[in-house]
Amino acid sequence: MSWAQASLLARGLCRGWGGICGAALTGAPFSQVPPQAPRGLHCSTAAHHSDSSLVPRPPEPPRRPAKALALHEELFRQAPDGARDKASFVQAVQKFGQHNVHRRGHVDFIYLALRKMREYGVERDLAVYNLLLDVFPKEVFRPRSVLHSIFIHYPRQQECGIAVLEQMENHGVMPNKETEFLLLQIFGRKSYPMLKFLRMKLWFSRFKNINPFPVPRDLPQDPVELARLGLRHMEPDLSARVTIYQMPSSKDSTGAADPAEPHIVGIQSPDQQAALARHNPARPIFVEGPFSLWLRDKCVYYHILRADLLPPEEREVEEIPEEWNLYYPMQLDLDYGRSSWDDYEFDIDEVEEGPVFAICMAGAHDQATLAKWIQGLQETNPALAEIPVVFRLAGSTGELLAPSSGLEEPSPPPPEGQEDEEDSQQQRQQQGCFQDKGVEGEVPAWSPRSAGSPGSFFPAL
């Protein structure tokens, strides 16, 4: 019986098949991998319960010395004026290094620091992550033999290293050469943090520019600027003009503007203007909304001015004027068109929609505010004066509807929504871990045979 089978058997005995399946489904990287024995070797207490998640929650074993953690908390509280910025964070990390020459409890400290990063606003700072990694003692955790690297060497420390990288990933921080160097020093080339690093290098570069409609990382705080950005984001026509119909009366950046004078920003393209001028005044047009638009973690609401689709019998057939082009015939006098075997188009059912004439974002979603927008539009669209405008507000927004109209940015989810953030992080983690699982799941099965070529652990290499 091969060694691999033996280990499988051992695992089965140890954890039971249910445990394996559960672990496989939740996709935790390490939990199902290591047989109990190697863990025991390092006296790690962390991994027992962390089937579903590694970060940012530190694994809190029941026998955790609460004192140590409190001590670390103390480090972060020591900032002189209570300022929470990069400098004080860096200071806290450095202090840990000074106080603790042997780096005792560094794993706990790193987990704590990771959780504190958002507070200090350094969650997107590569230098800080590198600093955190630097907390690990060097050379200690490097595997010294093939066996070391097969049976995860210092798993708790490796998990912690991965947690750092994971948080970088969640915030879109691309590791650099220094990160690589640190990881090499700490964990060696054939370690899981290094594998994670390589995968980040690979996929980050692939996904970084995948969004064809990028939203700037730092959104403007000014609601008018934000509205301008959102409108530009929605409007495909680059020659469209943004008009500010009304500036907010009070310059309160928190958005608690005077409800009487909320901002009104609109956008309209020349084509839309022309379409509105052609619109039959007998048919009403509608102001509809609010609809929601997410820009990163902000939700803004917009309204559209639209008309119903003309019934087929009223549509004008676009006819080619007889005397149009002075130079060449605009149509051929032939009685056959493009043949069916030369039809490149897929058979797509297209739903025709009525024209949209303009979009606006306003600080308030009531009729009075929107009426001001329509008034403003009339200056550039004289035809609008004759067309009846029907306000069809709310209703269409569903659960995203503003709780009370008149409120600035009615119901954006709490920006500091930790739960949201964590949920999404967990999701991403699970996705991320899914990749890991593929490899690790196989480790016990064929690692003995491939022991001669350890490179095969790391497909990304």
Binding site: P329, L334, Y336, G337
Partner: protein, 621 residues
């Protein structure tokens, strides 16, 4: 499609006649091409055109003497008295130069003699154009005056109008301008904004509007103006239609803007012209009320052929200047002329000049045949070919001069700037390519309709015929349309080239058929396809012209006809391979056909209105 075409036999001499009798008098090769690729408009045939492509049109000895008599003093004047450098620098043609031009009669070259003009034939006009083009500003001024400005009166004017205006225009006392383009309307006639409204007493039209880029706008006394008028249709509906007017500056309300500061042809006078409540008497309506569109089209179509000879004249001069420099300038103890890459440029210039000259005089000769044949496609082809040749050759000539060609002291710089306008005015080359291709296809379509309908309906016999034909083609068939051989239209020295022409014509015909079958009338939207069709047509016409001219030169025994044979063969071979390439591109699934990619790239760029590739130095990390 070939069934009608190959049944031609040779008649006496080099004339070709068709046996099927459908095409009385339709003997020349373009006509024969037109059986293959039915090209000519039916109107042409109505007149029973005696358009002769083979042999090359000749002028009689007397006419030739007459031309030479005209040419000599004009040439002397242009080489000795016209200072193009100064005209370009100062941005205007000196008064005395204009006076001299008037006294030479150059303002009325094509005005009939009874109205005081020179009454030159098209061929003679083309010949004089060669000389006049030595100064681009003067050439453009004269062309704006008579090729478009007063052409309307000659083509569509009543006797009274002709008698009233032409004598003064011919003498140069009055200068004419052509006012069609508007800020919002280039080739789009429907967007013309200038309006003419009939006054209460129905004796005047009141004209209001602005026209832009009017050559001679500041100098002219007589304007041909196109404006919208309300016309009551036969069914009592009121429609806006274009009407042409003869407007005198003295009618009042005519003002012009300041002269445009242009890249080239700086001596010509170009400006905006505004009409404000200008009262135009009803008798000054040119042609019919509401018939202005046709008038404009006819004027534009008639003026183009002369560009070929004009550019050829300019190129001849250019070759003289450039050869002189290339033989004088020494590098590495050798003169420039000994280097292959320099020699190549001269061959190119000579070839282009030869081809456009042949095309221009062939077209002029056809136009001079009785019965007002419509040669507007040919004229457009000449214009496209010659303007592009001009730009290419001038650029190459400047390259020979190197750095010294790039400075203002060298005339090359000015010629290059002047040549650029040729691709733009008189209909941009893009638009003319559409015209060439669509007019050709329209005609082909009419003839092919029945056949294509049968194919589409799935008529077994037609399909079998087509398949059989394709099969035979694929087994390698030699195309012989009867151009060559004993007593053929083409001299045996250029027989190879003639065979190439025949082969191109044959396969082009087939491709056209496929295209029409594929696209039908929606081919109007396929501009990239149309461009290739136009390019092939231009090449075919060029080949025909040089073959005809070279054959004549050999037979008549003109000086240096062996040189002509070289040029003709060179051009035909080049054009043949270009055509083959274009034809393969017209295949739907050809690997050479990049249309899809081209469209995609341009769409992506236009969507963002920028070059969207990341910078080569950008990183993702």
């Amino acid at each position: 499609m070939t069934s009608t075409s190959s049944r031609c036999r040779r008649a006496e001499g080099s004339r070709l006649e068709c046996v099927d009798g459908q095409e009385p008098g339709a003997s020349p090769v373009v006509q024969r091409l037109s059986l293959q690729i039915p090209l000519r408009q039916p109107r042409v045939r109505q007149f029973g055109s005696r358009k002769e492509v083979f042999p090359f049109p000749e002028v009689g000895q007397e006419e030739l003497n007459e031309i030479n008599q005209f040419v000599a003093p004009v040439e002397k004047f242009f080489t000795e008295e016209v200072d193009s450098q100064k005209i370009d620098r100062e941005g205007k043609i000196p008064h005395e130069t204009l006076e001299k031009l008037k006294s030479l009669g150059l303002f009325g070259m094509q005005v009939p003699e009874e109205y005081g003009g020179l009454g030159l034939s098209n061929t003679m006009y083309a010949r004089l154009g060669e000389i006049i083009s030595l100064d681009a500003s003067i050439a453009v001024t004269l062309a704006a005056h008579q090729a478009i400005g007063l052409k309307g009166i000659i083509l569509a004017g009543s006797e009274a109008q002709k008698a009233k205006y032409l004598p003064k225009l011919a003498s140069g006392e009055h200068i004419a301008a052509f006012c069609l383009t508007e800020p919002a309307s280039g080739s789009d006639a429907a967007s013309i904004q200038t309006r003419a409204t009939l006054s209460e007493d129905k004796k005047h039209y009141v004209l209001n509007g602005s026209k832009v880029w009017i050559t001679n706008g500041a100098r002219a006394n007589i304007f041909t103006v196109f404006a919208k008028t309300s016309i009551v249709d036969s069914d009592n509906s009121v429609k806006d239609k274009i009407t042409a007017f003869i407007v005198e500056r003295d009618f009042g309300g005519v003002t012009n803007g300041k002269p445009e500061d242009k890249l080239g042809i700086r001596g010509s006078d170009t400006c905006e012209v505004h009409f404000e409540n200008t009262r135009v008497p009803v008798e000054n309506v040119l042609g019919e009320v509401g018939g202005g569109f046709k008038v404009a089209m006819n004027i534009l179509n008639s003026g183009r052929f002369s560009m070929g000879s004009a550019v050829a004249g300019m190129l001849k001069k250019l070759i003289e200047m450039t050869t002189e420099y290339a033989c004088m300038r020494k590098q590495f103890n050798r003169s420039l002329s000994e280097f292959g890459l320099i020699q190549e440029k001269f061959a190119l210039m000579a070839q282009k000049a030869y081809v456009m000259e042949s095309m221009a005089y062939l077209t002029a000769g056809m136009l001079d045949q009785p019965g007002f044949p419509d040669c507007s496609i040919e004229a457009a082809m000449v214009k496209v070919f010659s303007s592009e040749g001009a730009w290419q050759c001038v650029s190459e000539a400047l390259q020979v001069f190197g750095g010294s060609g790039y400075v203002k002291d060298c005339p090359l710089e000015r010629i290059l700037r002047d040549a650029r306008i040729l691709l733009i005015f008189e209909g941009t080359n893009e638009i003319l390519r559409m015209y060439i291709a669509l007019t050709g296809l329209q005609h082909a379509g009419r003839i092919l309709t029945a056949r294509i309908n049968e194919l589409k309906r799935g008529n077994v016999t037609t399909i079998m015929e087509t398949v059989g034909q394709r099969l035979r083609d694929s087994l390698g068939r030699t195309v012989d349309l009867g151009l060559t051989g004993k007593l053929g239209a083409v001299h045996p020295t250029v027989a190879d080239s003639a065979n190439k022409l025949e082969e191109n014509v044959y396969y082009f015909g087939r491709t056209v058929e496929t295209l029409l079958l594929r696209f039908g009338k929606t081919i109007v939207e396929e501009q990239m396809v149309l461009k290739r069709v136009a390019n092939i047509l231009i090449n075919l016409y060029g080949m025909t012209a040089v073959l005809s001219r070279a054959s004549r030169s050999i037979r008549v025994g003109l000086r240096n006809h062996d040189h002509e044979v070289l040029l003709a063969n060179m051009f035909c071979t080049e054009a043949y391979y270009q055509n083959l390439f274009s034809l393969s591109q017209l295949d739907k699934y050809a690997p050479e056909n990049l249309d899809e990619q081209i469209k995609k790239v341009s769409q992506q760029i236009l969507e963002k209105r920028a070059y969207i590739c990341a910078h080569p130095l950008d990183r993702t990390s």
